[in-house]
């Protein structure tokens, strides 16, 4: 799966100096001489089960747009303080005197707003291997397993976190030649693979942006839903290559992520129109294609994404508009929901502005499942796939 990644598409393109600088900063080895602690004993840092930790993180990263979002948007101009982040990372990267904990490591990486949760987890797991004091492969593998389990239990609602950890385990530990080498070279090899995996995952967004350029034509109108960093990257790349297109942004209640996206797009001089979520069908006839991101891509080829994606896909399907999904391959999960309720719940609070009587029930689910028959294509870092190929990839990876 990963070795077939069409990352060659990036090779032609000279890397932005900013990127390389950051990657260098990231790949500084983190060495902790202290023995690792069993992180399984850690209490779940997210005791509030009413609210999905995944969406809390997203809210923190994307700056939930509240009613005074304009003021925040002004402040957000100075957003992405990369230098600061990297510096703090490097400071915390080698915590001396404190036992190494994969959760801490993960939280360090997670602070970077541009880094997806799964990639942060992958980097954290790579750090586990590096810091490991294990002397046998088996020991190392058990340690890795524990670390990944604790990461997964940190937030059970995040599909990409779980899938990313699983994929990392498969990718890193699946090598039959390991038994024949001595432990140190095997470990070096594991670290190499782990870093390569992290690298691929990190590059994924750019690969997707490049692959999807063929589908955006001049004069098209694109409907986007919610805020997805991949979709933003796609649109950014299209705008940078001087394509003329128009974007309709849904509002994205309740955390109004669409407002943030429209803000970002306006900065790129892309014509943007903001719709309330219920105006999708009304404006669908003007739309040429629908672009959405995904929280997770499931085995049927369908996606789990922010609430409202399913109905947009349904409307688009009934009007014969293509629905494109941009998703990194670390979001491919071994899940198979049969219907909307057949998923682990991910809840988040909804603000209505007025007090709601206690007798009134509120649907607080944060995401829905879009079946594959309503999706046209998936843009992933493995290439442009039809929904049915997702299962092919998953089978090949896990079997």
């Amino acid at each position: 799966m990963w070795w077939r990644s069409p990352s060659f598409i990036l090779d032609n393109r000279q890397q932005q100096p900013n990127d390389t600088a950051r990657r260098d900063a990231l790949s500084i080895p983190l060495s902790s001489p202290l023995p690792p602690s069993t992180t399984m004993a850690d209490p779940n840092p997210n005791p509030n089960h009413k609210i999905s930790a995944y969406y809390q993180t997203r809210a923190a990263h994307h700056g939930v747009v509240s009613s005074d979002w304009l003021a925040q948007a002004q402040a957000a101009v100075g957003h992405l303080p990369e230098g600061d982040d990297d510096a703090s990372n490097n400071d915390q990267g080698a915590p001396s005197g404190k036992p190494f904990s994969v959760i801490d490591e993960f939280n360090n990486w997670r602070k970077q707003p541009d880094l997806a949760e799964a990639v942060a987890a992958i980097r954290a797991l790579a750090a586990v291997i590096r810091n490991s004091q294990a002397t046998t492969m088996m020991e190392l593998e058990i340690e890795l397993k524990k670390a990944s389990d604790s990461l997964k239990s940190w937030d059970t609602t995040s599909i990409s976190l779980t899938a990313g950890c699983d994929l990392f385990m498969r990718y890193v530990t699946r090598t039959s030649a390991l038994e024949y080498e001595d432990f140190n070279s095997a470990k070096t090899r594991l670290i190499e693979r782990a870093e390569k995996f992290g690298e691929i995952s990190y590059k994924a967004r750019k690969i997707i942006a490049m692959l999807s350029q063929d589908f955006i034509f001049d004069g098209c109108t694109i409907l986007v839903h919610g805020f997805s960093r991949v979709v933003l990257e796609v649109l950014k790349t299209a705008a940078q290559s001087k394509k003329l297109f128009r974007v309709f942004c849904t509002e994205g209640r309740p955390d109004r992520t669409g407002l943030r996206l429209s803000n970002e797009l306006a900065k790129l001089d892309v014509p943007v129109k903001l719709l309330i979520d219920s105006a999708v069908a009304y404006s669908m006839d003007e739309v040429d294609m629908v672009f959405v991101g995904a929280d997770g891509v499931v085995e049927s080829g369908g996606i789990i994404n922010m609430m409202g994606t399913y109905q947009i896909a349904l409307v688009a399907h009934s009007m014969n508009k293509p629905v494109y999904v941009a998703a990194e391959s670390y979001k491919f999960a071994r899940l198979y929901p049969l219907d909307q309720k057949d998923m682990g719940p991910a809840l988040r609070p909804i603000e209505f502005g007025v007090p709601i009587p206690s007798k009134v029930e509120v649907e607080t689910s944060a995401r829905d499942y879009t079946p594959p028959q309503y999706l046209t294509l998936l843009f992933t870092d493995l290439g442009v796939l039809t929904p049915s190929v997702v299962s092919d990839e998953l089978i090949q990876l896990y079997l």
């Binding site: 063929d214 085995e299 089978i395 090949q396």
Partner: protein, 651 residues
């Protein structure tokens, strides 16, 4: 960036499952490709109407065609079909003289097999073949000489450009040009061809002589060959364009020959088509089980075996002591199939494999034979015995293929006892890994989909589905089961009994009421006899109906099926491959003496009773297939088939 866009004008999209890659004429697949293109002229001639052009076998010698094409006795140029009929005669001849070559017969028979309803014309054709096979001198008695030639030829010419596009290796490029029929261009290539022909003639004569030396020949083929060659040389110059046409056809086929052979090896043997009289005759002669054909056969299903039920068992039992080549274990399992004591895909497959294991244990290689070859032949004969008892399911076909593969792959350095024990362990492993453990994995996966408060609908009796229900019940999940059943087997009652005994809350209904109960159902669990690579589920008759109703009610349909039952075949309907049950079973209702409307009319010629055993559910109605590889969408069946095949070799 623009440069990159230029290099990639068409977006590349990866697909899986069912799509047609444009203009790739998969040459390894079937005979329907290349031979098709050369046959259109044939279909216009009345004599060959019943021969399916698609399945015409390639000649084994160029001279086959050449010898037959021109006829000295006929005053008119002879129409095209004759070479093919001629070839048919040759094949039959070969069969009559006893050199039974399965590949040959398969090919010779396959033309008719593609037609379902033309039994009569087939008969006349084969009659013709037999007559002609007596000697080479009967050429003048052929009806073909009387046909008007010109329209045939004109169609041949019109269709010439079609032939040219034949994608497979071609030996005579000159004939391939669209203007080939013009006779002015012929002389030069003809000379070289004449030489080639002479060479081939001599080879053929030598071969025929060898055959005759074998002492099996009835008619002297040597003579026939020489007569033919003489004829050919005489007539060659007379009707040059006509010869050119047939030469073009034959040369092309000759070029195909080696590829054709490989293709034949790869392609699965075509199934027996029971409307093919001559082949059925032959099969009957070899068969152990004495079956009388049903008097009234359902027209649309003539290609399936339709025998009188209930007669074979007693007959076979009486034969028990005479059948010395048959192993008793095989015999026992065959009888159990016949009597219906063993039913259900897994049970039948396990019984068969265990019988084979017994055979292998008791096997000793006869002198001057090798174990892999002899044992494979033995197993093939046992398989045909099983087929006579009851048509094999596709899963059993897969298991047999696995077993034969293992036998063929045995290392020659192993001693006999080692080989035998290796085969036995392989069989054990197959049963364990592919059936027992697979079921356990399926149960794990499927019961994760059962939630509290669910209403599950099941149809018929599938052992995996039953295990899923019981396991979910053991896990303490609160759910209700609706068992849907259908006549005549009423297998659901047994399932119902077992479920109720375990304390599962059940509802029992017949398939007539499925649309009534469907609105309260939350999930449908179904078993399958096999899953085909377009996602079609081949299962107990009625499954398609249940799945369709569930789909209409937006209820997810979950198929539980072990991966060894997946088959690479594609099937679009349930007509071309099916199994017919006892027709009387649907005519009579046991225990209801008042339902006797059919008693006096059941012998009437107007009434045909059809008791189908299986049907095909389209992939659209299936939400998910649970296999030992996890939960997959029906579009991913080809992926599993691909992986699983590799697995076959690895085990």
């Amino acid at each position: 960036m623009d440069a990159r866009r230029g290099s990639l004008p068409v977006p590349r999209v990866r697909q899986v499952g069912f799509f047609t890659p444009n203009a790739q004429p998969a040459p390894t697949r079937s005979q329907s490709g290349p031979p098709d293109s050369s046959s259109p002229p044939l279909s216009d001639s009345p004599a060959s109407n019943s021969l399916s052009p698609v399945m015409i076998p390639p000649p084994r010698h160029h001279s086959d065609n050449l010898a037959a094409a021109p006829r000295p006795t006929s005053p008119l140029p002879v129409p095209e079909p004759s070479p093919f009929r001629r070839r048919g005669a040759d094949n039959n001849n070969a069969l009559l003289v006893g050199s039974y070559n399965p590949a040959e017969t398969l090919l010779a028979m396959s033309p008719s097999s593609s037609h379902v309803g033309d039994g009569e014309s087939e008969e006349t054709m084969s009659g013709g073949w037999f007559r002609r096979s007596n000697s080479g001198k009967l050429a003048s008695s052929l009806p073909s000489g009387t046909f008007d030639f010109s329209p045939v030829q004109s169609t041949a010419e019109a269709l010439k450009p079609n032939k040219v596009q034949n994608p497979v290796g071609i030996s005579a490029p000159k004939e391939q040009q669209p203007e080939a029929p013009s006779s002015s261009k012929q002389p030069k290539p003809k000379l070289t061809k004449a030489e080639r022909r002479a060479l081939q003639e001599s080879q053929r004569a030598a071969k025929a002589a060898a055959k005759a030396g074998g002492g099996k020949s009835v008619a002297a083929p040597e003579e026939v060959a020489t007569i033919k060659s003489v004829k050919q040389h005489q007539t060659q110059k007379k009707d040059a364009p006509q010869v050119a046409v047939s030469v073009a056809a034959s040369e092309r086929k000759g070029g195909d020959k080696s590829q054709e052979k490989e293709r034949r090896k790869d392609a699965p043997a075509p199934r027996m088509q029971f409307d093919d009289k001559s082949r059925v005759e032959k099969a009957k002669r070899r068969s152990v089980v004495d079956q009388t054909e049903a008097k009234k056969r359902v027209e649309l299903f003539r290609h399936l075996p339709q025998y009188e039920h209930g007669t074979q068992l007693a007959d076979l039992e009486s034969k028990f002591l005479q059948l010395d080549p048959m192993h008793p274990a095989i015999y026992k399992v065959g009888l159990q199939y016949l009597a219906g004591d063993i039913s259900g895909g897994n049970a039948r497959c396990i019984a068969m494999l265990q019988a084979f294991q017994q055979v292998v244990k008791d096997y000793s290689t006869p002198p001057e034979k090798t174990l892999p070859r002899d044992l494979t032949a033995k197993i093939s004969s046992y398989v045909s015995f099983f087929t006579q008892c009851r048509p094999l399911s596709m899963s059993m076909g897969n298991a047999i293929r696995f077993l034969k593969n293992r036998i063929a792959k045995l290392s020659p350095s192993l001693s006999e006892s080692e080989s035998k024990s290796s085969i036995c362990t392989d069989i054990d492993r197959f049963i364990n890994e592919k059936i027992v453990l697979a079921d356990r994995v399926i149960v794990q996966h499927a019961s994760s989909k059962v939630k509290d408060g669910d209403v599950l609908l099941v149809y018929g009796s599938s052992c995996v589905v039953e295990m899923v229900l019981l396991h979910s019940h053991e896990l303490g999940k609160q759910f209700r089961v609706i068992v849907v059943d259908s006549r005549p087997k009423l297998e659901g009652k047994a399932l119902l009994r077992r479920l109720v005994a375990k304390g599962v809350h059940c509802t029992y209904t017949h398939i007539n009421a499925v649309s009534y109960v469907m609105h309260e159902v939350t999930k449908v669990f179904l078993g399958a006899s096999s899953v085909l690579s377009n996602g079609t589920v081949y299962s107990r008759v009625g499954t398609a109906c249940v799945a369709m109703v569930a789909h209409a009610f937006r209820v997810p349909v979950i198929i539980c099926c072990e991966a060894y039952k997946f088959h690479e075949r594609v099937q679009l309907d349930s007509i071309c491959s099916n199994e017919l049950g006892d027709p009387d079973a649907i005519g009579k209702v046991p225990g209801r003496m008042d339902v006797n409307y059919l008693n006096d009319v059941s012998n009437s010629g107007n009434l045909q009773l059809l008791n189908l055993m299986y049907d095909a559910t389209p992939a659209d109605y299936v939400s998910m297939i649970v296999t030992d590889y996890g939960m997959i969408p029906p579009t991913s069946v080809p992926v599993i088939v691909r992986e699983y095949r590799r697995d076959h070799l690895l085990i």
